[in-house]
Symmetry: D2
Subunit: 296 residues, 4 copies
């Protein structure tokens, strides 16, 4: 199967459907993949924060990627998430994930001990060298005790296969600095903490998003308006979609997207404890938001 090389557009962060015992619900996942591709998404990103990647054991992660790759069947690129606290573990996961047939990997470093810039650079360069496919860097400073800087990114992209960044800081100035300093060498995907439209406007190539599981068509519509440079129309549309970004920020990621998918008929189950299910009020709020967005 020929690998996709250029990633652009709407890449939903897939939830990982799990039963009460924490086992992967493979059929539900395959259904969700098929549904989203049918809606026109441009790629799929299993095992992100929305996908509870840092909470899953390797066997579950491996099987998750396999199911997504098989269900996608080459129709859209699949970017497999690598979540491991150690460099040797992440290198191993990256290499094994590539063998499963993904088009790229997305590497995140969940943290425990504090790490300095050199340690961050070495970690991500080691992971990049472990694969021949494209690497997307990811961090969410809400969940980690470190963050990328323009300078650490400059050093990491000395590895030629590091092509993309998904930064979830919400700090638009930092993103502007990255874009102005590193230019096209590092392509940006928006996170939901940003206003995706502005990231598109700034040259961002797409949106890697939990909410896109729930509103794939609307996300694609926004992306297409941006591609056509219909900025004012896009802004109005962005504002209309915004409450979902807010809900996603306010409520626990997986809890919010899983609850919404259940409303849409996908039996994806609950997030793993110690995460909580969405509260009854959260559920009501989300239901209203999805209905207003035309998503249920």
């Amino acid at each position: 199967m020929k690998k996709n090389k250029n990633f652009a557009g709407i890449f939903p962060y897939l939830v990982t459907p799990l039963d009460d015992k924490g086992h992967l619900k493979e059929d539900v996942l395959a259904d969700l993949v098929d549904h989203l591709i049918g809606k026109g998404v441009h790629g799929l990103t299993p095992l992100g924060s929305t996908g509870e990647g840092p909470y899953l054991d390797w066997e579950t992660k491996k099987r998750t990627v396999q199911v997504v790759v098989e269900a996608a069947a080459g129709r859209v690129p699949v970017i497999g998430g690598v979540n491991n606290m150690t460099t040797h573990g992440a290198v191993h996961e990256a290499a094994e994930t590539e063998k499963l047939g993904v088009d790229g990997i997305r590497a995140v470093l969940p943290s425990y001990y504090s790490v300095d810039h050199d340690q961050i650079v070495t970690h991500f360069r080691s992971v990049a060298r472990a694969v021949s496919c494209s690497v997307t860097l990811y961090t969410n400073p809400q969940f980690a005790n470190w963050d990328f800087t323009v300078d650490t990114l400059r050093r990491i992209i000395e590895e030629p296969n590091v092509h993309y960044l998904k930064d979830a800081s919400g700090n638009i100035g930092k993103l502007m600095s990255i874009v102005t300093v590193l230019g096209d060498r590092l392509k940006i995907f928006s996170a939901t903490a940003f206003v995706p439209l502005f990231v598109f406007m700034m040259g961002g190539v797409g949106w890697m998003a939990g909410p896109a599981c729930l509103i794939p068509e609307q996300s694609i519509a926004l992306y297409e308006m941006a591609r056509k440079k219909e900025w004012e129309e896009a802004l109005e549309y962005q504002k209309k979609l915004w409450p979902l970004n807010v809900a996603f920020q306010r409520y626990s990621l997986a809890a919010c997207v899983k609850a919404g998918l259940e409303m849409q008929g996908f039996s994806v189950g609950s997030p793993l404890a110690p995460q909580k299910q969405l509260s009854p009020e959260g559920r009501k709020d989300l239901h209203r938001i999805l209905r207003n967005a035309g998503a249920i």
Copy 2:
């Protein structure tokens, strides 16, 4: 003198020129005001963070506002900064500042003890009730141990003369939430931690900015492109100007703007200790940036 009511456009945060003993250099300030109005700025905002407002005693603050009001002579609106840790002090400063002939006040709450949402709401409402002119809310969460939320803002704008917000968090998602929830009721000025163009695009009415002291024409050009909805041209221009935002974030505010103004021939002096002057490397960096922006 008829008061200006609608504030929009480029409002430089004026530095406060001080001599070695901390005394206001009135002539330099008047010159700077005249220079900036000549360049076309739409308003002036003395005593912000760039203006070292929280560091100055009342006599110096009062005289600063007087000099700016007199030098502006009604040509552009003047928004006086109110910086006081106590509610009764801020109320007093606000009322006295209004008497000095300003067109509006900008209220910030420097913090020592922690404050909760109720305390924040009560403080700003009290300040608003102390004046009949327009109030601009301001916070910089880098410098304070509290931040506005959509909900505290909603409660504060029950005071009818609270019209504007300048939020310096750099969190574009928070700003989008404010815009989508509060709409036109609270008009937004961009801070330099944001990408001003995106704030204009989102409906923001202007940019209150330290760097605009150094690049007034360029800031105005950016604002005008946004007004004409020349978004792509504006984006290229925004990118060109961006290094000054970065320098302003990296170096101490007053140190950076004061050093730049000295390069442009304004003898504004040094920032007050414990702030440091810009380092020789910082100076070299800033000189290069200003030259590239065509500002020296």
Copy 3:
């Protein structure tokens, strides 16, 4: 009047009694001073955090120190608080405060802009050079965006009149490092965030405390047990007093101590807004604690 040189023992942080308009209630303050000296306290520290020092204007601060110095009448040493964001302001306040007849000053640096180690060192050394009396360094990292380190302290005590430190971090390991590295050169006063007994045990010379306004006799009893090295008896006593430290941490400082003094018959008024008065539940809790400690 001969100056006291060696400070040791219980030094209550005095509240600043204020009426509804924020004016100093001089008689109440003089009464409180007389009361506390009568109870046996070893010194007095007006204008600390409990005394709302950072919230008061210079005239009120000056008059507060004068009233305390006059009321103390040389019976115990008075350490005047210097609270000013700028170095030149703090230098001025320090020199003026010394002229009011204090035995020492206590210097704190409320923060707005961020400051680095060099700026901290220069600030405190400048303040120390402005006076000939003894200087007590103070910081509360809860209220400031900086903290002392062993190394910055080592540099500051190159000024020979810097004799004491009151650190309110609650980090006992940091204090142990200061004691083991700097030894007797910098004498330690406990803050209420620490367990005072352990600071005494470690060689600390006393306790500068808001709660000591409310429980002077009990605080002195604890200090005396420590002096006599009756460690086990002291520990039991310390445990009995502990709930007041906790209340003091939980509730706003001035609100808690002012409410307690009102219960004891001192008409000290309310803390300045935006601080809140103690809530009815807080009041009930404090009343119970004071009764259990035998303080009402």
Copy 4:
């Protein structure tokens, strides 16, 4: 084998000796266990933060506990570390660890998503219910985005087998509050961020410590002085040992203890990347400290 029930004294946090490929060096670990028991330690705690527990896969963790249990051979109690981000994973690890013959488990919750008080309580109660042995609660707020409070602890100890707490916050006031409110129901082990002597004085039953791997005899001597209530002698000894606590705080935990053990002749290898080895200067500093403590 009869289980030990009452844990008290010096419990070194064992490093996990690993070769270049991350494989457990079983012989070195068994040697270290034998050495430390020979020195008189009162218990052993594999898989703490010093033991890189959060970085190891289950097979390595399992084998580590087995080797320690076998080498200890009932001479001292072994408390196995449970490090898992999910509740079901932690429950599984706890139950499996108990089967390996440990005398108790120590549960920590490494964090990614934010968790509230209810989620923390439910997590630790679930883990406690999974075993019949004694549970020690552990948190290090430097490494996690949550912390225990007196109230969450009160709720967790409704599980009758939760007996011990090792809090690494360094906040002595918090510990005093726990001791005064929860009394003997929750016994405290000191962490190295505290001054162990003061925790002993407060009623703490022991010290769970990385440095105790390097200075077992000295740690025991300190503990014995405290038991005999020779407080002043103990304080002098504590001060002498303090530089090792400081080094342990300053340098990465595992890096520091592993480097020291290598100096003492135990071939424990390097910490797992992204952790760094101790720098040459750190090594020199540590060597000096160990020599001064009589530990090499």
